[in-house]
């Protein structure tokens, strides 16, 4: 039982962590938290099942198509819901515009795909029991994501431009960085990461339109705990959340787990609004 708690917990945690990173990538580029993070995860599963099971495409083609769709949705999110309201960011209209867009996509999915959870194919028949592919695949995807982002941000010029925009977008623009194009690229990148999370986690979570709300909330918890914009915080927070949830599920039942996570979330927000790992923000007078 211990092994299955750990493997299941870490796998779910890896999905939460990747969803958290999706929030972060969008936030860093635009100071906007977007409700589309959970939507991307949900679609990763649904579209994957559609391409591979219904259209019969090879798994690798399905993956590429899913990631492409994620990138496309990221771009659409930026153009439709973020760009128009970015001018008056202090009014926080982005909360509503991204929520509305995510709901639109979710409802379209519910109507076209159905409201029942549907199975997702087993992609690589390696391992069984608690070493099953459905557990290690999300963890692998999470590790690849983190390594890729670290490489991008530290070793490439584009990545450094991303970091510059995140640190101080005014200064970055003054240096001549194309802020708008970089923001668009960030949203596309976030789309890829979110879709990857959904795709690799779908064998466990199934292809289900309702995963959107769950991923939206549980993917945001690690961001709140780890501090906004901190990817390492999101990974640590996500894995911890997954383990805690599974342990509580097995030991004391699902209701308690859900309530406990919610309570921890609120308490941390109240005591350390900047997250357990984040720094304090400056005053705004």
């Amino acid at each position: 039982m211990f092994e299955s708690i750990v493997s299941y917990g870490l796998a779910v945690g890896a999905i939460y962590a990747m969803t958290g990173i999706t929030y972060n990538v969008m936030f860093s580029a635009s100071r906007v938290f977007s409700f589309t993070a959970g939507m991307l995860g949900m679609l990763g599963g649904v579209l994957g099942a559609y391409f591979i099971l219904q259209l019969g495409l090879p798994a690798i083609v399905g993956l590429v198509l899913v990631l492409a769709c994620g990138a496309l949705l990221g771009v659409v999110t930026e153009i439709v819901t973020v760009r128009p309201v970015l001018k008056n960011i202090e009014q926080h209209l982005y909360v509503l515009s991204t929520l509305a867009f995510a709901l639109l996509v979710q409802q379209l999915t519910a109507i076209e795909w159905g409201t029942e959870a549907q199975p997702f194919p087993r992609l690589i028949p390696i391992g069984q029991g608690w070493l099953d592919q459905q557990f290690w695949l999300p963890m692998l995807a999470c590790a690849v994501t983190i390594a890729g982002l670290e490489f991008l941000y530290r070793r490439t010029l584009v990545g450094r431009a991303f970091v510059a925009i995140a640190e101080d977008s005014y200064a970055a623009r003054a240096l001549g960085l194309p802020e708008q194009r970089l923001r668009l690229a960030s949203f596309a990148l976030a789309g890829v990461i979110g879709a990857l999370a959904g795709f690799t986690g779908a064998e466990m979570l199934l292809a289900f339109f309702g995963n959107q709300a769950i991923l939206n909330f549980y993917g945001f918890v690690p961001v709140a705990l780890g501090g906004m914009g901190s990817n390492r915080g999101a990974v640590v927070g996500g894995l911890a959340l997954g383990l805690f949830q599974q342990a509580a599920n097995f030991l004391v039942g699902g209701i308690f787990a859900a309530v406990a996570v919610f309570v921890v979330f609120i308490v941390v927000l109240l005591l350390r609004p900047e997250g357990l790992a984040g720094g304090a923000a400056a005053r705004r007078v």
Binding site: H92, L99, F101
Partner: protein, 600 residues
């Protein structure tokens, strides 16, 4: 002078019962239509109107949170669910012994209020996305618990809703029950909206910093509003479960939350009538779009996106004809300092506010580096220096926004705590801001009335129920604000929405707001910036008179002429340190100051 005093009276609101009824007439019309509806005897539509009333009970409370305080509470359906199950379970006696339905309804209100505050807690420290996420997470979790706690909620199978006994038994009795409660909610929120609490909520939404400086205690006010809004959501839940007659977790989809939210957005922020019409519209609309039932959430979401992107102001903005009339083009601000004696008290004891050895870092930058400063009654103290020399930062230290790493502040010899902006109003320390902090959606008069918030005597409940103390507060604040506006010369613009004013007028409006506090200390942050030469002259005369009445003034300015014209003492800052201090004449001949700052 007689001619001045006989100027046409400002367009103040007419007082008296009749004026009040006239102002509320659209709401009364909706209510009367609801009362008369049973004459038609249409049972089918009666249920739809009952549903609209139930939704409105919730939305009217949520409106204070979303439309007035500007907090994005999207998961309010969680509280509706909670109220519905509380009423059902208590009436059926699944968890405790069975209670009468009316008792269960009251208990739902209490539970709703409690959870309203719990869900709202993050909003006290953080705005927007975190709070939105908490409400969303809460609604998800309530549904999960409802599904899993089978012994009480019946799980996925559901549980019967309560039946209210006589006098509000099923049929027209229940209809009038819903209508009555909806009417009471409208009345209560209407009262709150027109009180200092409603204005403070809007101030938190549009200009939080100005609200704090006026002594609005955001946490206490928001907790009160969450209690109120949560209680209404609980009651709405109880009515909802009776209306549905049988509830399952499926009945509380996220659609409902979106519906509540859109009702408010369509209606417009800061309005009661708008969201009421929005709720009616969204409840009735599906009746005409039956073939589209499967697409209802999709359409709501599309509507939400459309409103946010195209008409963020909602119906209320479209109906606001008054504020579309063009204003007079060449307006002149003519302050009347001679009226000041009617606002400012003449303190017997002179007041002193002193800073001693203040040091403040921003990261590695020493913004203030060992500053001593004292401001006294009947004295205008000028604070000048190049950009970045720490002038505004000094003001922010005094008004409690920053905590210096060393140094103390004393008010008449007693230590003044730092990092507590809302406490400054009670010490009669008022201020204006470098960039005017206006409450854009409120009228000029309301913007100024905010300044007197702490002088209200009535409580939130007294305002909610429109008890005598509420009316006395309102009358006094209204009178004081009109007087303050007359002093700064803006009384003709009292009813205009503040975001239509010119920049120079906003500067004078902020002074009027500060005067509402009857300040012992007035901190002015570049009040002359953007004013014409003539306006600066009039401003100077006004500030001089304020100081003569006994108020201590600290004036941060770049206009050297104004400073040397009206100040009694001047401190020159450079790199956070005092470069020179003395009378204007001394400063003007100070060699270092002239070479570093004033120019030869």
């Amino acid at each position: 002078m007689a001619a001045v005093d006989q100027r046409a009276p400002a367009p103040a609101a007419r007082s008296g019962l009749w004026a009040r009824i006239e102002k509320a007439s659209p709401l009364l019309a909706v209510g009367i239509a609801g009362l008369c509806f049973p004459l038609l005897g249409d049972d089918y539509w009666a249920v739809i109107i009952e549903r609209a009333c139930v939704y409105w009970v919730l939305v009217s409370g949520l409106n204070l949170v979303v439309g007035f305080a500007g907090q994005i509470a999207i998961g309010w359906v969680g509280l509706l669910t909670l109220g519905a199950y509380t009423t059902s379970a208590m009436t059926a006696g699944t968890a405790l012994p069975a209670f009468p339905a009316y008792v269960a309804l009251v208990a739902s209100a209490a539970i709703g209020a409690l959870f309203g505050v719990i869900v709202g807690l993050p909003a006290l420290r953080l705005r927007t996305f975190y709070f939105a996420m908490t409400t969303l997470g809460f609604s998800t979790i309530v549904t999960q618990v409802a599904l899993a706690w089978k012994s009480v909620t019946g799980g996925g199978v559901g549980t019967p809703g309560p039946v209210f006994p006589w006098p509000f038994d099923p049929g027209w009795g229940f209809y009038y029950f819903c209508l009555l409660l909806a009417g009471i909610c409208t009345w209560m929120t209407y009262n709150i909206a027109g009180s200092r609490f409603g204005r403070a909520l809007v101030a938190i939404r549009d200009a939080e910093v100005a609200a704090e400086a006026s002594g609005v205690a955001k946490p206490a006010l928001l907790v009160t509003v969450f209690l109120f809004s949560g209680a209404l959501a609980g009651v709405a839940g109880g009515l909802f479960s009776s209306l549905q007659s049988y509830i399952t977790p499926d009945a509380f989809t996220f659609d409902l939350s979106v519906l509540f939210f859109i009702s408010i957005l369509i209606g417009g922020r800061g309005s009661i009538l708008g969201p009421l019409l929005g709720t009616l519209l969204l409840t009735v609309l599906p009746e005409f779009a039956a073939p589209l039932v499967a697409w209802s959430t999709f359409l709501y979401a599309a509507l939400l996106l459309l409103i946010v992107l195209v008409i963020p102001g909602g119906i209320a903005d479209l109906l606001d004809f008054k504020n579309r009339r063009p204003l007079e083009r060449h307006r002149e601000i003519v302050p009347r300092p001679e009226l000041l004696s009617r606002i400012l008290p003449h303190p017997g004891e002179p007041n002193v506010l002193a800073l001693k050895g203040i040091v403040l870092h921003f990261g590695g930058v020493r913004a203030i580096d060992g500053l001593d400063l004292a401001i006294r009654s009947r004295e205008i103290h000028g604070l000048i220096g190049p950009n970045g020399s720490g002038k505004t930062t000094t003001l922010n230290v005094i008004s409690g926004y920053y905590k210096p790493s060393a140094g103390e502040a004393y008010l008449n010899g007693k230590p003044l705590p730092f990092e507590a902006p809302p406490t400054r109003a009670a010490h009669r320390i008022a201020r204006t801001f470098q960039t005017p902090r206006l409450i854009g959606g409120a009228s000029v008069l309301e913007n100024v009335m905010i300044g007197g918030t702490i002088d209200g005597a009535g409580t939130f409940v007294e305002s909610m129920l429109a008890l005598p103390r509420h009316w006395r507060d309102e009358a006094r604040l209204h009178e004081a604000a009109m007087l303050a506006l007359a002093v700064v010369g803006l009384d003709q613009l009292a009813s205009v929405r503040a975001d239509r004013l010119q920049h120079s007028e906003l500067r004078f409006m902020e002074i009027a707001r500060a005067l509402m506090l009857r300040p012992d200390f007035l901190l002015l942050d570049e009040p002359a910036a953007g004013l014409s030469a003539e306006e600066i002259r009039r401003l100077g005369a006004l500030i001089k008179q304020i100081s003569k009445e006994g108020t201590a003034v600290l004036l941060v300015e770049h206009h050297a002429d104004l400073i040397f014209d009206i100040c009694d003492r001047v401190t020159v800052l450079n790199l956070g340190k005092e470069l020179a201090a003395g009378t204007p004449a001394e400063i003007r001949s100070h060699r270092e100051v002239v070479s570093a700052y004033l120019g030869a």
